[in-house]
């Protein structure tokens, strides 16, 4: 057996990195704090841009991890306690008192979804028909997309940039995936309820990746989704439990109000709760501007942490789409391989 | 020859007579209907024409076009033969049949069915020379018609045999008429053959009749005679009864169309009177299909003119409107039409009738001080933005002396600044005093509005431009956009102002020696813009210019056969993807033999082809400008 690596986080990044390293013959401990692999992916229904079922991807990945059990050992329900530097490599102590002697640590702890309650004026947690994108995804998964009182939604609005690009919540960055997710979910609502009027409230549509712009085009021309350029300013509840929203249609320069049956907040990504703690334990740097981990640089050392032997992959270094996360994980594996073979 | 029956009647003539009376009645009603719709002046022309010597020309034209189908012959010999064999053959059967009556049964001349069923009612008692001649003639023309019918059947099955890529698709009414037509003459042939042992007959009928006689000796049964005559009569009836609703109406209306056209009647802005005769004159021959680039380049078969006339005839207004909104109005179909149906005008008229928005156009903003008006969004904001807009005010160079030329680049040319810049450089090189009327953006010439069917709006714009052009005092108007050129030349009333497209003007400058050019090494082909070529007849001048500046090659798609770039301003309803397909297809055809550059003379064509990006595209002005020999450069030579 070659060298040993501990991976913190059993989401898509952690699994993909583990598979890449296992493929190169390394021994991998995959440390997952919950009882299951998959991270946020396990809670998603379909994936942009081509509506692939998330479950299929997850099953394939978990299946591969199981197949590679000679190389990958998954440790569930455990978190990292501390790390000590040894003469050669690192000693990792886990919360279940297991001690791992490893040669490198890959942090793939991912992201947390923005807590929509923090945008008080959007009324999440107060008005029943205000959901987050994750809530809606769960409804899609459960195949039960209805309002709080069981009615079929006739009007649905999606709000982009919730908890992103917002100094009031100290998230000044773009979460990258919300725009395309909003367009995806808007199309899915129209597929489900063709008669429904669907509105997307955006500031900029960041359709940056392959097939994204086509999705947007289809949402407009095929599904007839309304796109309103304006940031949601306020949400309130009408006497019959509907949601009244106020925004400016900035392309017209006119304030606008609209009552919807369901309001979906596209919650962005934020550094996961464990970031600060992990940073302290592993001697990592956190960006003061977005609170994600810093990498050595953004180009050739995009997976290297500032501490020796520690690597970073996935959305713990900033918002990433799933394809980007998987690529980043593979690139992290390559970085580790180079580090161990140099 | 003797009559077989004293009462000269058999019940099977009834179907025929029903059809015959019906057609005559229809003819009278339709004629009255058409004439009623005509303006008084046109009615007068119709009457006057009947008594003028020109009526002979009309008769000749009708003979040539309706019977001999000379125009189709010119385009396609086989197709020409097919049409003329049926039409002319049938006509001759009728003529010779009547003469025959005069010879053998003059007292039956007043029975309209008699010549049709002549062979049934008469029996040959002795063989005469006269009789044989008639037998021969009748059989000859019958054979002619039958050969035409046979070709028609083949055409339906294998159109490639006729060199046609496409032919019309028929609806049930057309099919019914067509099948009836197809049946008439074979049935007549059979009926006459079966009867020939009584009536006698020529080489065809008697010949086949003898074969039948041979069969008859075994079964000794004449039972087939009357049923075939019945069938013949029925076929005629069906054909006649369906005539007003089938494409064969054109047999009648085409003659009327020729008469009216020769009487000097033309399309008006409404689709009635003359236009309805045109619509009924469309024989759905399908000759307009192949030239139509919507069909060939963009698979928009349902938009072809032949379908349009059909839709409009059958009151399918929505489809007709859609077709009109797709049509490029390149005039290729009009040119191909053997009947001379101006479907482009019909489409324009339909658009005009549809627009009818008595919606007030508001062009007061184009009044004289327009250029100094602020950009306004909403009232309160206007004040703020005013400050920025003031600096954009236009300084008009209406100096003391009137300029020689007023240059109107046109809206589209503003999107191809290379054309404008070249023209300005050429004016300067030639020492022409000019004023650039729409340098800072002008008022639209009004043709796009006209092509959208909105005459009132177009006229308002024209009035504004007329005023502005005349105000310059220039005696020559040069425009760079053929769309503008067409309307400036044909519709504007610009007293004392010569209207030239820059192709014409460049040639004049060259011929007058005011500019000198050198011939470059580039090879090129010239693309005739529809508006400049087919619509305005400017073919020669651009070529005369281009010979001097490059190695001009030719393609089969030139002059009247030039292709459209697909981006006609008229086709407001055609999706962009389709336009692009047409442009791509046209460019591909023009550059089958590779050249360095495709030269055109229209900003729209230039942009359309430039977007395809497979070959260099230049405007004639640009290429002339590139090859200008400037005075200071000459001494070095």
């Amino acid at each position: 057996m070659k060298e040993t690596i501990a991976i913190i986080g059993g989401g898509p990044a952690g699994m993909e990195a583990a598979l890449s390293l296992a493929g190169r013959g390394y021994k991998v401990y995959l440390v997952e704090k919950t009882d299951a692999l998959g991270g946020h992916l396990a809670r998603w229904d379909r994936l942009f841009p081509q509506q692939d079922p998330a479950q299929d991807l997850l099953n394939e990945m978990i299946g591969k991890v199981r197949e590679a059990d000679d190389y990958i050992e998954v440790i569930y329900g455990t978190e990292l306690q501390y790390v000590k530097r040894r003469m050669r490599g690192l000693e990792v102590m886990l919360s279940n008192q297991t001690v791992l002697q490893v040669d490198a640590v890959l942090v793939a702890c991912g992201f947390d979804l923005f807590r929509a309650e923090r945008k008080e004026e959007y009324g999440y947690g107060i008005y029943e028909n205000v959901l987050t994108s994750a809530d809606l995804e769960r409804k899609f998964k459960e195949k039960k997309v209805v309002c709080h009182d069981g009615r079929t939604p006739q009007k649905v609005a999606f709000v982009h940039c919730v908890g992103s690009r917002d100094e009031k919540v100290d998230h000044t960055y773009c979460s990258k995936v919300c725009c395309v997710t909003a367009v995806k979910q808007a199309c899915e609502i129209k597929e489900l309820y063709p008669e429904a009027e669907v509105f997307n409230l955006y500031m900029d549509l960041r359709m940056f990746d392959r097939y994204f712009e086509q999705m947007y085009h289809k949402a407009q021309s095929h599904f007839g989704v309304h796109f309103v350029r304006g940031r949601l300013s306020e949400v309130s509840e009408t006497v019959d439990g509907k949601i009244l929203i106020k925004t400016e249609d900035t392309l017209l320069g006119r304030p606008m109000k609209l009552t919807v049956d369901m309001l979906v907040l596209m919650v962005g990504m934020q550094a996961c709760a464990a970031t600060a703690e992990l940073a302290e334990k592993l001697d990592l740097k956190v960006s003061p501007s977005d609170h994600f981990f810093e990498t050595k640089d953004l180009f050739l050392r995009g997976n290297q942490a500032h501490a020796k032997g520690i690597f970073l992959a996935g959305a713990c270094t900033g918002p990433k789409s799933l394809p980007d996360t998987l690529q980043d994980a593979r690139s992290a594996a390559e970085s580790i391989h180079r580090y161990l073979t140099d | 020859m003797h009559e077989r029956f004293a009462n000269a009647f058999d019940p099977f003539v009834i179907p025929y007579m029903i059809g015959f009376v019906f057609v005559i009645a229809y003819l009278v009603v339709a004629l009255c209907y058409v004439v009623k719709q005509l303006p008084l002046s046109d009615k007068k022309k119709m009457v006057k024409h009947l008594f003028s010597y020109k009526i002979f020309i009309t008769v000749k034209d009708i003979f040539a076009d309706c019977l001999l189908h000379v125009k189709i012959w010119k385009k396609n010999k086989l197709l020409g033969y097919m049409h003329s064999s049926i039409a002319f053959g049938w006509f001759m059967l009728i003529v010779v049949g009547h003469i025959e009556i005069f010879f053998f049964a003059p007292h039956r001349v007043n029975l309209p069915y008699y010549p049709i069923f002549f062979r049934y009612f008469m029996m040959e008692t002795e063989t005469t020379v006269g009789g044989s001649v008639f037998f021969f003639l009748m059989d000859f023309f019958l054979l002619m018609v039958l050969s035409g019918i046979a070709l028609a059947m083949i055409k339906r099955l294998r159109r490639r045999f006729f060199g046609m890529k496409r032919t019309t698709r028929l609806k049930w009414n057309d099919r019914l008429g067509m099948y009836a037509l197809w049946c008439i003459f074979p049935l007549r042939f059979l009926a006459e053959s079966f009867t020939s042992h009584i009536s006698g007959g020529g080489f065809l009928t008697r010949g086949f009749g003898m074969v039948f006689d041979w069969f008859n000796q075994f079964i000794n049964n004449d039972a087939l005679i009357r049923p075939t005559w019945w069938a013949y009569s029925m076929a005629l009836m069906v054909f006649f009864l369906t005539l007003p609703w089938s494409r064969f109406t054109h047999i009648l209306s085409e003659a009327l169309l020729i008469y009216m056209r020769n009487a000097g009647i033309r399309e008006t802005s409404k689709n009635n009177g003359y236009a309805s005769v045109e619509i009924y004159s469309c024989s759905r021959c399908g000759l307009c299909l192949d030239p139509c680039q919507m069909v060939s380049g963009a698979s928009l078969r349902q938009m072809a003119s032949v379908e349009f006339t059909r839709n409009i005839r059958w009151g399918q207004r929505a489809q007709a409107l859609e077709a009109a909104s797709y049509c490029l109005m390149c005039n290729r179909c009009v040119q191909a039409c053997p009947v001379g149906v101006n479907s482009v005008q019909l489409k324009l008229n339909l658009k005009g009738a549809d627009i009818q928005y008595r919606y007030p156009h508001r062009y007061d903003y184009v009044e004289s001080d327009a250029a100094n008006r602020p950009l306004a969004t909403t009232p309160a904001w206007a004040n703020i933005l005013q400050s920025g807009a003031e600096t954009a005010a236009v300084e008009k160079t209406t100096g003391d002396a009137a300029p020689e030329v007023v240059y109107f680049a046109g809206c589209m040319s503003h999107l191809t600044p290379g054309i404008e810049r070249s023209m300005v450089r050429i004016f300067k090189a030639a020492g022409v005093g000019y004023t650039f009327l729409d340098e800072e953006g002008g008022i639209c010439c009004g043709r796009p509005m006209m092509l959208a069917g909105d005459r009132i709006g177009g006229e308002q714009l024209m009035a504004r431009n007329t005023e502005a052009i005349l105000a310059t005092g220039a005696r020559t108007l040069v425009c760079s956009c053929p769309i503008c050129y067409k309307i400036f030349k044909d519709t504007y009333k610009l007293e004392g102002v010569r209207v030239l497209h820059h192709t014409e003007y460049l040639l004049q400058l060259l011929e007058a020696g005011r500019i000198t050019v050198r011939k470059g090494a580039e090879t090129g082909v010239y693309h005739d813009p529809c508006e400049l070529g087919r619509h305005a007849g400017i073919y020669k001048q651009p070529r005369d210019v281009l010979y001097r500046v490059l190695n001009l090659h030719t393609t089969p798609y030139e002059g009247k056969d030039a292709l459209c770039c697909g981006h006609s301003i008229a086709a407001e309803g055609m999706p962009y993807k389709k336009r692009r397909m047409i442009a791509k297809d046209a460019l591909k055809k023009m550059t089958e033999k590779p050249v360095d550059v495709v030269v055109t003379a229209c900003p729209s064509c230039k942009r359309a082809f430039a977007e395809i990006g497979t070959v260099g595209i230049k405007d004639i002005a640009e290429i002339v400008c590139e090859q200008l020999v400037l005075p200071q450069a000459q001494p070095q030579k």
Partner: protein, 356 residues
């Protein structure tokens, strides 16, 4: 609606409010329009709750209305505010109680500016010294008077004679709260419960037995708009904004409105009258309006003070329907009498709205 969600948010906006020893400053508009409210604030604080609230005749307007009408410079307003603080410092107080919301907003804004830009504070100190010879300390706590009543709401509830409950049905009264814009919109953490779901009045209503109505335009300005009201041709703005709020609350059928701002109770009261007289529309039951109260008036009512002592007669919209619902006794004859019970005439009755 989920109240737990709001409670979660309220937790984030806890404001430290001292419960005693205040230096009190009055509001221009309230002195004119609701003099009894300010009187009862002091009376309830001093007599019912036994607190020390000091007032001096030497304090003046803060100039806030002039400032928001843009005719007073920011340097001036800072100096006037500094002068008020100097009076407080001189009187030996550190807690500052403000009657007016515009003032309260100004005080928080100015203190914030002084903290952000120390050079501005220095300049103000210099200018105040030059102009008046006074020196000042920034108060340790600035509380709006409604903050203090909020803080003491349960003590008031304990002494209450009446509850905000419909005597007949036993249902809590439906109360619309209206918070002055400058209370928390500029500095959400300076207001109890924040800017989006302020708790300051909701807490009082809750404690006194009523039920808060959350209607779509709840957070919006009454439409005062300073220059938009004071200049007559602009008043349509003011009227229209109040109209919008009433149209929005109408389907919720509120029994009364409680406010903590000087102008809002006046506008929400008077614009109902104007809407009735111009549009013929009334928002209460039986052609009545919806009565609008200050928080002191509501506190006084639950504590059992006489409605006419509390000054409810100077509202254009008659308070009687609410008094009847709660079961507070009142003498209709005494409504417009003078202090000694003498007749001083009475206002005419409007045409389209029932005001008694």
């Amino acid at each position: 609606m989920k109240l737990e969600g709001k409670k979660l948010i309220w937790k984030d906006y806890q404001k430290e409010i001292p419960d005693d020893k205040y230096f009190y400053v009055r509001s221009c508009i309230r002195q004119n329009m609701f003099p009894a409210s300010e009187h009862y604030f002091l009376k309830i604080m001093r007599e019912d709750l036994g607190k020390d609230v000091f007032e001096t005749e030497h304090h003046t307007t803060c100039g806030g209305i002039g400032y928001h009408c843009d005719v007073i410079k920011i340097e001036t307003i800072m100096a006037i505010v500094a002068r008020q603080f100097a009076l407080m410092t001189e009187a030996g107080y550190k807690n500052y109680a403000v009657s007016c919301i515009t003032s309260f907003g100004l005080y928080t804004e100015i203190i914030h500016t002084w903290q952000t830009f120390p050079e501005v504070l220095a300049k103000t100190r210099r200018q105040l010294k030059e102009a008046t010879g006074r020196e000042f300390e920034i108060p340790e706590h600035v509380a709006h008077a409604s903050d203090i009543i909020f803080k003491l709401r349960n003590e008031i509830a304990a002494k209450a004679k009446y509850k905000l409950i419909n005597k007949k049905t036993g249902e809590p009264l439906k109360v619309v709260e209206h918070i002055g814009c400058h209370y928390a919109k500029m500095f959400p953490h300076k207001g109890v419960g924040g800017a989006e779901y302020p708790y300051v009045l909701a807490g009082m209503i809750e404690a006194w037995g009523g039920e808060i109505v959350d209607y779509p335009e709840r957070r919006h300005c009454c439409g005062f708009g300073f220059r938009q009201y004071f200049v007559k041709p602009n008043r349509g703005y003011s009227l229209s904004n109040t109209h919008k709020k009433f149209e929005s609350m109408e389907p919720f059928k509120p029994d009364m409105i409680i406010t903590n701002c000087p102008g809002c109770p006046m506008f929400m009261d008077r614009w109902q009258y104007v809407i009735a007289e111009t549009e013929g529309k009334t928002y209460g039951e039986n052609h009545h309006g919806i009565p609008v109260f200050t928080y002191e008036e509501v506190a006084g009512l639950v504590l059992g003070y006489d409605p006419w002592d509390l000054g409810l007669q100077v509202h254009q919209i008659g308070p009687e329907p609410v008094l009847d619902k709660i079961g507070i006794p009142y003498d209709p004859e005494a409504k417009y009498k003078g202090a000694a019970g003498q007749d001083i005439g009475k206002p005419e009755l409007p045409e389209n709205i029932c005001c008694c």
